[in-house]
Amino acid sequence: MKTEDRIKAAFDEAESRELEDLLCGIEAETTAERAVRTKRAVLEKTGFGGKSRGLRSIFQGNAAKALAAAAAVIMLIGAVFGTVACAKEAKVYGDAVAFFDENGLVRGTLTRKEIKAVFLDITTKSFTYDKTLGVILLSAGEISVPGCELDPHDAAPSGVSALWDSYTAVNAPLGDGEYLISGRGYSGEGLQLFENGIYYTSEVEYEGDSSAPKRSVLKKSAKNKLLWEAAFDGCVITGFKAFDGCIIVTGTHGAGTRAICFAAKIDASGRIVCRQDYGMAFSSWNSLSIAENADGGYTVFGSVYDQQERTYSTGMFRISDELEELDQTTLPNIEGYFFSFAARFGSGYAVLMQSTWQHWEGSAGAAERQLIVFIDAAGNITDSVKLSMDETASILSVGPEDRCFMIRDMIEHDGQLCFSGYTVPLGDDGSMPNPNSRHAEIAGIIRSLYSSGQYADFSAADFTQLVRENYTAMLIEFDPLKAEPRAFYSEAGALGDSLYKSADGSLVWNAVSISSAHYSPATSAFSIIGRGSVCAYRFSGQDLVGILETGAKVPFLR
């Protein structure tokens, strides 16, 4: 039985002692007219009705029998019409429930009448019923859309209609074999989709309105079917990576400067094999990468913030296979650069550093936007290479001159570094979008929409095509000895995402092809939402050996 039905049933059967605490402080009023009618009726029924008692005697005898017969006929007619009305109502209700289920709408605490009213309000496109907006907002739930905020007290039908279009753009029905990967705060980026549709996601749960985490959960799923979850009470998971046979998880518990860092190893069945706390290993574990060491064990890379110097450095934290702390190293601060990714390279590591925001926009060192720092197993810097040799061009100018490459992942492949990402247009002044700002990628689209006044004129299909033209997924190979990047593979209308090595040593590249995009000035503060389809490209050496439409759909948000 549904929880709501149990609550109603409990209220139906409640005894007076059980209601005392429940009703404490809760009052209800009624209208003055109803109060008068109630009093009059109660007095009548209890024999204190006065003159009204005399009036009742008029209806005794035959007149009363005639009235009773008439009432019986009326009830019979009412029963017939009532039966027909019941069947019709049941069909509408059934259609409404099916509509809710098909569109992922939350019924929550809605009554039967309200469910039907929302259904009719949306399907007739009137959007005037006061509960429709609440249902859509509640159902959108964890797929939060930046700027998609309507005031429930002041939402015009056009706004609610636009919100519904946005909601369906993200929640369009899935085709056969398709499944949607989503979760709390998940934006669709950084997903490693393995063979057989296996992927991992993490979520943080909070108690009520508290900002302290109740627990974090790492989940393993296969095509949206949850296989297992591993929970960490009172913790926040800050990073995880799957290796052959295990997953390494990092995170924190506690708050602020007293936060304790931890790592845990989870085996293939979801069992937490071991866990270790590290005191305050890093002042913050941001931008984490986890690499497997050549001699066993792991190295965790992250940003380290020095509160006194107000600078960021890159930290390396080495742990054994059993997660025992081995050593910590903080790389020398490279002014103007911050840690982005790290990957195993040879017997050591390669660390990608990106310029801080104030160094963008054509300032001095325009070519020094991305730097690869090579580190040996002991944490010593052995070399560093700028990714672009062109002093005037944007980074990794391997594509058209008016586009730049946004890096999203990095891996060693065939003795070289392989970068996954996508190209987007440069700004009108030739400036490169801030790599930390996803929104900057669509600035050109928004500008052209408003300058042409066409923001309301695009059909869904045309707008999707416009957004697809903004993105080209690219796989780039970088030979550190030659310091030359080379475009390896590209896919129009897509965003390059994660890279991993499969069991047979081939390189798998996940790219997200934009399948729907929606924009509405009524509901969004210059944001675009939609969905993408995940495609897996498999490379053996330099050769493309397979392309797999995985069936996985992920949210697209900018």
Binding site: I7, S16, L19, I26, T38, T109, G134
Partner: protein
């Protein structure tokens, strides 16, 4: 006026006592009855049920013991049970005064063991609702006991309707989690 004084007034001056009783609790009893009969019966049936509840309370006044519960709670119990009976009667007759069919079906007669289990579960659930904290407790009572709309609850509590919906949804999930067992979504 406290319960003892009201009970004494009802005994000594019934007409005045009933006037006071209905003045104090007509709104509450109406809400409790409407929470069950809205969509099943029309206003006339609802008001009929309300006045029946007051009349029944008056008839059992001699056995009222304030140590066992307040007049407020007892009136609500009587009112809800009357409303349940009216609902069942209307369902059997297939008569609808207004609105649409309700969700209830006549229940099969439970065995003593089933009754005992149901009582335990009911006590646990109601206790859990009482422990929800504010404003969740009041939201659940008003939504499921009084049958008030989100808008009405929001207005009463000075909250946004969307916030009321969200809190109600979360409160139900909390109850579901707390009580476990075979609670469904």
């Amino acid at each position: 006026m406290d319960d003892r004084t009201l009970a004494e007034l009802l005994r000594s001056d019934p007409e005045r006592g009933l006037g006071e009783l209905t003045r104090l609790y007509a709104g509450l009893v109406y809400s409790v009855v409407r929470g069950k009969l809205a969509g099943v019966a029309g206003n006339s049936d609802i008001e009929e049920c309300v006045s029946d509840a007051f009349a029944e309370f008056y008839r059992m006044l001699d056995s009222f013991d304030e140590s066992r519960g307040s007049i407020k709670a007892l009136l609500c119990v009587i009112a809800r049970r009357k409303a349940v009976n009216v609902c069942r009667r209307l369902m059997r007759e297939g008569t609808r005064s207004a609105g649409e069919p309700g969700d209830d079906q006549p229940a099969d007669v439970p065995s003593p063991e089933e009754l005992s289990i149901r009582s335990e579960e009911r006590r646990a659930l109601l206790s859990a609702i009482a422990e929800l904290g504010e404003p969740d407790r009041e939201i659940i009572v008003r939504r499921y006991y009084f049958g008030e709309s989100t808008k009405a609850v929001a207005k009463r509590l000075g909250m946004k309707p969307s916030a009321v919906d969200t809190r109600a949804h979360r409160a139900v999930q909390k109850l579901k989690k707390k009580l476990g067992g075979e609670y469904e979504d």
